[in-house]
């Protein structure tokens, strides 16, 4: 079960309550009152733990789990071991997420400004805002109600933060506006100068970067990720985007709604990404391109041309995934032949 040192559990909940809050099918009446107070992976769970099966790769662990109850799809239920209750959900991972969040509520907020923080008198903080130790809040900053600012975070002049945001420690924010419920992990850098300069052998000349970063509601951004402000247009992160750690987003990039950007991706300046597109880890995208809504780019790909909506691409340069695999197969075959003939 989760280490109570870091994740103090809330009060246990009955299977009936858990199923209801997660939108699962109601459990059989004879077990609906059984209470669970913890969660664990299938292979580590005991009779008092709730677990889940989502990735078929872990199906073997279901047959031998000692978990008291498991959230799973209907078609997996027949594999449940004796005595283990199945909670059937259309999307077990999502259902589990709701249950785990109910069993392990996030730490209570501590509204107020830590005595060691440095807050400019012209900054405006909403009701219930929490400012951690040694944070720096600049002039004319606005922070919406119930947002939390982590220790050591630096917020520059004029930045606007919505309601119920959770800004981690040691983040730096400048020239940006964040919506509501934005989550920023430690070391995120938003709004610094983009990489804009006129190249020349006499010396590269910096071009003033006069745009902002606009971050929509319910965006989550991973540790040490960097998002440069626009050069004139804004850099835009659409609502609901999920951005992983160590991602680089250049000036003027725009992401639509709900995009998923995995760790270490690099998006060059002025590229536009459509709603719900997915970029795998370490993908690189050249500048001034358009990636269509719902497109999926396989990990490590190098995107050098526009991608139509809904298309899945991979490789270097990125191309339709089937072509990529065919090329890999052809080359492998040729190399085998070459070995045989030598």
């Amino acid at each position: 079960m989760p280490d109570p040192r870091f994740f103090p559990p809330g009060p246990p909940l009955s299977l009936g309550e858990l199923a209801a809050l997660a939108g699962c099918e109601a459990p059989p009446a004879e077990v609906a009152e059984r209470r669970f107070g913890s969660v664990a992976p299938l292979d580590q769970a005991g009779p008092d733990d709730l677990s889940f099966l989502d990735n078929a790769k872990y199906r073997a662990a279901l047959a031998t789990t000692r978990a008291g109850a498991v959230v799973l799809k209907a078609e997996e239920a027949e594999r449940l071991p004796q005595g283990c209750v199945g909670l059937v959900a259309a999307d077990p991972y999502r259902a589990y997420a709701r249950m785990a969040a109910a069993l392990f509520p996030p730490p209570a907020p501590h509204p107020g400004v830590d005595a060691s923080a440095v807050v400019d008198p012209t900054a405006r903080l909403g009701e219930g805002v929490e400012v951690g130790p040694l944070a720096v809040i600049g002039p004319e900053v606005e922070i919406g109600p119930h947002s939390r600012i982590g220790a050591g975070t630096v917020i520059a002049r004029g930045v606007v933060i919505g309601a119920a945001c959770r800004i981690g420690p040691q983040v730096t924010l400048m020239a940006c506006r964040l919506g509501d419920k934005v989550v920023l992990h430690p070391g995120v850098r938003i709004g610094q100068d983009g990489f804009g300069f006129a190249m020349s052998a006499e010396g590269h000349l910096a071009v003033p970067q006069l745009g902002r970063v606009l971050v929509g509601d319910d965006v989550e951004i991973g540790a040490n990720t960097t998002i440069d402000r626009g050069s004139g247009p804004d850099t835009v992160i659409g609502p609901g985007c999920r951005i992983d750690n160590l991602v680089q987003i250049g000036h003027n990039v725009s992401l639509g709604r709900g995009c998923v950007v995995v760790a270490q991706v690099g998006l060059s300046g002025s590229t536009r990404v459509g709603d719900f597109a997915v970029l795998g880890g370490q993908v690189g995208v050249a500048g001034h391109l358009s990636i269509g809504a719902g497109a999926q780019v396989a990990a490590q790909s190098g995107v050098m041309a526009d991608i139509p909506p809904g298309v899945r691409v991979g490789g270097f340069p990125a191309q339709p995934l089937k072509e990529m695999w065919r090329q890999i197969a052809v080359l492998k075959r040729l190399a085998r032949g070459s070995r045989d003939s030598t």
Copy 2:
């Protein structure tokens, strides 16, 4: 126009003044006194905005722009819409940079040491130095006149910083010397131990890293970039280099003058890069190599051998760009053939 919350405009300037300060051809006398106070991209500009055309990709936007004046090359001038003044420049991007910097002057410095900063009494700060809130300046540090140190930045014992540098928030500096006019964005890490150890199954043994990082004049380094100090030799960043975000520079690497290193590049230890070389995003370079002056390495390439001066390479392993494209084409053709035959 730029959001005045973040970019307060200076006084408007006449086209004559703008052309003069940027080295453009003088505008026709009848418009030389027209004043402009703002800038905007072609597709967003109005009659009071100055804009520019540099990348031919945006040429279509010229014909329909509502901008009052546009900086562009002579050969584009015929495409200017009615009533829009053309300011002709050999390098429009560079000219625009100078104009925008004049119209939106950077925020005025606030010389002095913030009361919350922790400055060792043996540190020596030049005239007009600005030290932000909660910065930490260690013993025997020297900071040249008019340099600015961001909030929360930590400068370790003995570091030397030149004049007129702009060090962003939450930077860490150790064992390094910076020239004049160096710009460091948030989260830059300079001078920590390089990745040097003697490997062994008994346990890897750290090798003392006894070199420094020497950063030349007029260098700009992007957010969360890491530059390790030398192991014995120094790590050297030549004057005028432009380094983007999330770049890794290993110990003993040396960059010449004016190199351009795009985001997420990794340079392994002891590699030498010649003057004005350009490394595209996510390029990786193995250790102990030499990249010639003026060489250009395409994004995502993997460099495993020396590159002669002036050569353009790409791919994995990196090879002359034409060969890379030819290989890509051949493989594509072979895969198509293989599909047809199955």
Copy 3:
């Protein structure tokens, strides 16, 4: 020689002492009392400097070095120039490391808590702990004896740190336990939420991340590297691992003993890496995979399948290194042929 501004030398040591502490063969009696107080690379060393030859690439520098003594393998000794003493070692790099560490001892600790640090009264600090300026130590944190916490570092509630650790400036730690002698460079992020959410067009739903990060003894982690905490299982970094800068380690990843992870590697969630495996720079590894003990993955590879123990792989997708090179050669040949025929 190392810049005394940053690396103040300790007292000089005799060749006899140096050889003894590094486990080299004893030097000839007539030179055993010669004292050395500094070190330098072969091409920069003078008669009072100790140097070393480890990488054969630098062999040419041996013949012309002016170093007073050089640590090297027996088979290189014949190339020593006149008057230069050879100190013969089976592993010259390891021997040099010990000598250099003796000649340039690390700065003395300054036990105690800086007056500007913010330490929760419930935190427990061992004997001789050093807490730098403006560090933040949260409730119930435990720090073992003689560990050092850098300026501005933020340690969240409940984190446990072993003895004799060296935590650099501006590190953030949460939901983790570190062993003894752990070294963290600036900007390391450990224990933030992993990239876990249930995707859906209605909006991605965060899945509570209820595991920890467990870091073994004698681990070193590079600047701005990010290690997410487990989602339920823990993320585990085995003892003796060496992790370079800007590496991303996803939730539930486990590394065995002594793994070497070069800069900018990305390890996706739930992947397991065996003892002493080596991952080259910019390698990407997909999730839920197993990389065997002693496996070696060449720089920039994309690993999409399990790798057996001891195997060397490379390329995209990663395959045995010989096959990768054969494919590269075949494709090169085909492209040449295609050029000739056109």
